[in-house]
């Protein structure tokens, strides 16, 4: 019993929890910044940049805007951080020691939504007009990209006949995996809020989005939460769509390689495209994302 408790504490704090995923997430964010800089003919930041940005933000005084409830202002980033942290613990990535349980995929889908809801609330709560525009856009976008994303996950669950992540990982590889992977991939840029779906945090239009009134430590916590979200999302992709290898070292390398490829793909897409309007992005997700999702669902149900 005690042993199990220690396992959970280790999982939350070290791997796949805050420490390991935080380092990995900051590395991914650095790769995105560095690659964008190289593509623009710049030299780009050194690899420790996101970490120093985060520490610097922790060490500043916090300004709470007048008329904003301070407890809500401080709570939102921490709720977002907690949700992503617990999400990381349930995803069976390599090196994961906590066993998966029936229905954990439903819990995971809920936890994935929490950071988005926190962002939307942060935008509304801070009473900035830019924050409110951003919150509205983010809410609409989440309706858009969740169609292919949820459908992909549900198709995989239907295929494996189980709502346990461990079963989905060992499910046979087939046509439904490919179709669902496409639907999931399509949703990733919107989830990361990178171009062409950087609609909620459009920096040239609405000054950077829902976090505009956030500063210092709460802003840093939001940044950390975003880094963890990237790791969580790539972890979910790995578990659902990549066949796991027998050897644990090979499996861990495969996990890192898949995450790296996803980050490079997302960054290349971001560097090559311009921002879409909300309406077009929404239509894209409900037409093309919807088609991929519907195809995956049909194949999963019939086959």
């Amino acid at each position: 019993m005690m042993n199990e408790v220690y396992q959970y504490v280790f999982a939350v704090l070290v791997w796949p929890g805050y420490l390991g995923a935080g380092a990995l997430g900051f590395l991914y964010l650095w790769i995105a910044r560095k690659l964008t800089a190289r593509l623009q003919g710049r030299k780009g930041p050194p690899f420790y940049q996101p970490f120093f940005d985060f520490v610097k933000l922790l060490g500043k005084d916090t300004v709470v805007p007048s008329g904003v409830n301070p407890s809500l202002f401080y709570a939102l980033p921490f709720i977002s951080l907690l949700a992503t942290g617990f999400g990381l613990v349930i995803v069976p990535v390599p090196g994961h020691i906590v066993g998966s349980f029936p229905g954990d995929i439903v819990l995971l889908l809920y936890l994935l939504e929490v950071p988005v809801i926190c962002d939307v609330m942060a935008g509304y709560v801070t009473q900035s007009i830019y924050g409110q525009v951003s919150a509205m856009r983010e809410a609409v976008m989440s309706l858009g990209y969740n169609l292919p994303m949820l459908a992909a996950v549900i198709a995989m669950a239907q295929n494996a006949g189980s709502f346990r992540l461990g079963d989905l990982q060992s499910a046979p590889f087939g046509l439904v995996t490919g179709l669902a992977a496409i639907a999931f991939l399509v949703a990733i840029p919107a989830r990361l809020k990178s171009n062409p779906f950087s609609i909620p945090n459009a920096e040239q239009e609405i000054v950077g989005g829902a976090h505009i009134e956030y500063n210092s430590a709460p802003l840093g916590i939001f940044e950390l939460s975003h880094a963890l979200e990237v790791v969580l999302l790539f972890g979910v992709f790995f578990v659902l769509f990549v066949p796991s290898l027998g050897n644990s070292v090979a499996n861990a390398s495969l996990y890192l390689a898949v995450s790296l490829v996803l980050m490079v793909l997302a960054t290349l897409t971001a560097a090559m495209t311009a921002r879409l309007t909300v309406k077009r992005a929404f239509r894209f997700y409900w037409v093309w994302g919807g088609l991929a999702a519907a195809a995956a669902m049909v194949v999963a149900v019939i086959g």
Partner: protein, 155 residues
Amino acid sequence: MNLFAKLLAVSRRKSPWFFIVNSGGCNGCDIEVAPCITPRYDGEQIGVLRQGSPKHADILLVTGPVTKRSHRALLDIYAQMPSPKAVVAIGSCPASTNVFLGSPTVDGPIDKFIPVDVWVSGCPPRPQLILAGIAQAAQLLADGMTADQKRKATP
């Protein structure tokens, strides 16, 4: 705790985010600030990022001689920045009001209103010099030697 203070000092030196405000200048200095974040000078190498909100920034870049119309806005923006913060005055205008000296519409120079940590000279200054000014302000933030930090330290 001492270790965190050391790490924090390094972080402040490595991660200067700036916000630029034009207090009624001719826009020449603002044009010279833009190349600091473009491929030729690329300030991101030393962690310089331009922020759209003063609440995210550590360093306030001020151009222009501080006109009657802009001085309240300047004070507001300075007050909105969370401590510790540094101020870098870009060009001759904030320092001396330059060619606008004696104009009835000008309230400057800037040090009547907010404490300045680094003065960058020139009309306009070159981008290298502006980046050097930002780097120097970041060093001051790390050492705890900006006017804002000194004011906080003395009871």
